[in-house]
Amino acid sequence: MSIGTNTIRVDGCAKLTGAAMYVDDLTLPGMLHGATIRTPIARGRIKKIHFDPAINWSEFVVVDHRDIPGGNAVALIERDQPALVASEFRHKHEAVLLIANASVHKLRDAVRAIRLEVEPLPAILDARATARPEQIQHGADNVLKRLTIHKGDPGAVFASAPHVIEGTYHTGAQEHVYLETQGMLAHRENGRMVVRGSMQCPYYVLDSLTHAFGWPREAFSVVQAAVGGGFGGKEDYPSNIAIHAALLAEKAGAPVKLVYDRQEDMAATTKRHPSWVRHRTAVDKDGRLLAMEIEVMLDGGAYVTLSPVVLSRGCIHSSGPYFCEHIHIHGEARLTNSMPYGAFRGFGAPQTIFAMERHMDVIGSRIGVDPVELRRRNFLRDGQTMATGQIYRDGTDLVALMDRTLREADYHAKRKSHASFNATHPYLRRGIGIASFHHGSGFTGGGETKLASEVWVEGMPDGSVEVQTAQTDMGQGTSTILAQVAADALEMSPGGVLVATPDTARVPNSGPTVASRTAMVVGKLTHRAAEDLSKQLGGVRGPSITGAIRAWHAANPGKNLVGRAKYEKPATIVWNDATYQGDAYASYSWATYVAEVEVDLRTYATRVTDFVAAQEVGRVLNPTLARGQVQGGVVQGIGWAIYEDVVLEDGAMKNCQMTNYIIPASADLPPIRVFFEETPSPYGPGGAKGIGEMPIDGPAPAVVNAISAAVGMSIDAIPVTPERLMERLDGAHG
């Protein structure tokens, strides 16, 4: 059995020794370097492009929108984002021109020698503001997507409820800060355009290349280089860079590498959607949730990109892991002239969970019910329905999971000791906070059915086994767990299983590496494909499989021995996309996190001093990797809650440097104690569910609940930077 063991990472050694090749490590003979010329303001029209005559432009390859052979769009959900601006543009730092040269020094000088003359157009920078007619850029009202989820009859309940409690909660943008910045290398090889680089979703890149070039899919090969982190930031934007690199390579007739430096990466690429979530909740005197009205608003930025699906996941998670008979949820994602907000670990859920879990504490304090008790009374129990009418039948005991966290955190004793500490200390204030939440694994609603993912497990002529998927290992360990799953199915050691480097010319489309879907959905397919391989060998498993594969090849020269599996919707999962009713996700993971903080009233700075993360994620495939996912997510969540502040100016990130965009470092972090409960899920291999995103859902509300407890005041917006906390506290004191 390799599932459940700490199998050593298959990519670990190459990364530790520096042998792994990231896109910036790659060079090819005759390779040029590319650079991007970008729009200078939030909205406008290009009037003229000035090339300084001091530069000999004949030495440069210059590409503009007229060089795009197919459709000038980065094809995703919609095709509204141009690959290169032709005339009108909708945000600062949009790509207009591409230039390439063999010398990075000449390239630097040339970039500075190009000036765009633009005519400004009225920009809208605040998603909450009503757009004036001249600011409308999408549909009738700039709303990129709206959706409604309805259950029961909340209106009637509000009229007679003992308490109605309202609150509005805000979360800010967040930058991914993957270690490796984005980049692509494009070149022609054997008649194909090969695009290699840093990405999460090779087939999304392929789709967008196909659209922009108007060539058949076979004309491209999209290959993953080693990827240094993604967090969702490499879900959609790599398509832009891939198109750019390929356009330059095509025009130059030479390989072109286009790699962003940190500043360009932070300025130009996507961020987490800022949100404003309003809750109005009817509760009885014991705190039972009688009816909920939730309005979710996301700033979508300048183009549609992934906002509709981010909004969808956000809305579905917005009522928390609680039972309530009457719910009305309305969501809107609106256009602003900012960089497009895109995928970021959690995908809308962290925003709405922040609001829900803050609101639970607000409800508790208003009606005088302890926050732990309030959650205990409202947790979903088997057989009850969630907001979309999905029946909760997971078998996880949410109360027991919460109690485990409280015990590990010594929650009740700490609350007592904080009360006496805070009463006597001149300027330090301590607090402890809790957040309970859930996260759906895989694509929302019918998404997995539409994706129709496919996985192959091939027996190679030398007797080895290779897993072929489009899943990218960006540090999270997918290659390792897929090897474990295949090895498990074939009863061999994981070391005997190879995992193919994703290359669209050779691996099947198993879907994007996003949405906490790889372990559960692709893992299950890998298991089935491995079983199919074994079946083709007459059911052979275990060490003798190597010999059996070799014998098969000897008997079938020149043929391929491929086990296959294609996604089939489980019959029990039913979803109606028109009414937003049904099983939004096949499985959910569940968690309660507790954070302890200390606020220094001299500096208004918050330090997180202890953190306990207990979760139920189905079967844990690899405990070390799973713990790493949770700890990393918690760190990113703490960053989002109190450190990370995207400062916008004219809709663009002004603090686009790591000195000025503060992510927490190890000296800022508490011990992060991780615990797993395992309720096997029928939908994942060996019972696994998703884990990658959930850990970023809980830290922000837990931390801010703790801060609110420490300072005795409700804090409703993040990031809680010291400057903001000072304003909030001193503003309230008059």
Binding site: Y427, R602, Y643, N660, I662, A665, D668, D730
Partner: protein
């Protein structure tokens, strides 16, 4: 790019003499190389000082501590004697960047760079340090508190090098430094303050609250008079005459002034 590597201080000062081709000195390079990415032109002329062994000194005598221009934060941190005699120097040094920076960054470079956020400067200034400047014209000593004349402007002439820093030894009964950064390490100071008391009276210095690191003389005078502060606002009344904080990407003027006042108040009211 052109790099000079003088073998002696005389040679270095000769190089600094040429107005048309004056090189920029580079010590640890931890400030200079940050701006490398944003260089305006490709032609840069540097003077690598690493061969000037005579500037590497770090010597504690009966009268003073002599810090050569190439002495690093790490040199101070790892000297038990210096850390004990001038605890604030070691405390500040440990809060500069992180270990990689501490082992390369020099005290002289911290002064030479002239950032108002420099962490080495407030503690040196609180100990009444003087800077020794040298050129082929000769040497002179300048009190560190008189060194700056404006934002990144100083009394140092273009042909002068900082060759050393001298910190006088005296008995102190109060020494305190507090740095507020946006995180625990690798953070540029948002507001910082150092306070020292000796027979010569109070010294209060602050960084990131004015165009250059400065002494807070109104605050010093108030403390010397024995003024008692009832709350942070009392401190603010006085110290706001000494500083002129601004809003920038890293913080706000209001925050800087409020936190400076609160830090000083809570420290003076006896709380650690």
């Amino acid at each position: 790019m052109q790099v000079h590597r003088p073998a002696t201080l005389d040679e270095a000062l000769q190089l600094m003499q040429r107005p048309d081709a004056r090189p920029q000195p580079i010590a640890g390079g931890t400030d200079l190389l940050v701006s490398w990415h944003h260089r305006a032109k490709e032609s840069v002329r540097l003077m690598d000082m690493s061969r000037l062994e005579e500037l590497r000194t770090l010597r504690l005598t009966n009268e003073s501590l002599e810090i050569g221009a190439l002495a690093t934060y790490w040199d101070v941190i790892t000297s038990a004697e210096i850390s004990e005699t001038f605890p604030l120097l070691a405390q500040a040094a440990k809060q500069v960047g992180a270990m990689q920076i501490q082992t390369r960054g020099t005290w002289a470079g911290n002064i030479g760079n002239g950032s108002p956020a420099a962490d080495g400067v407030p503690v040196l200034m609180a100990y009444d340090a003087t800077v020794t400047l040298a050129s082929s014209r000769g040497r002179r000593d300048v009190a560190l508190c008189d060194y700056w004349t404006g934002y990144k402007k100083s009394v140092k002439a273009d042909d002068e090098l900082i060759v050393g820093i001298r910190v006088p030894r005296r008995a102190c009964d109060f020494e305190w430094f507090h740095k507020v950064g946006a995180r625990a390490a690798q953070a540029i100071t948002k507001v910082g303050v150092a306070m020292v008391h000796s027979a010569d009276g109070w010294r209060v210095t602050a960084n990131s609250v004015a165009p250059f690191v400065c002494r807070c003389r109104a605050m010093e005078a108030a403390l010397d008079r024995g003024e008692v502060f009832q709350g942070p606002d009392d401190v603010r009344q006085v110290i706001s005459r000494d500083v002129s904080p601004i809003d920038d990407l890293r913080s706000t003027a209001a925050y800087r002034l409020a936190v400076l006042s609160r830090l000083v108040f809570f420290r003076m009211s006896g709380h650690l």
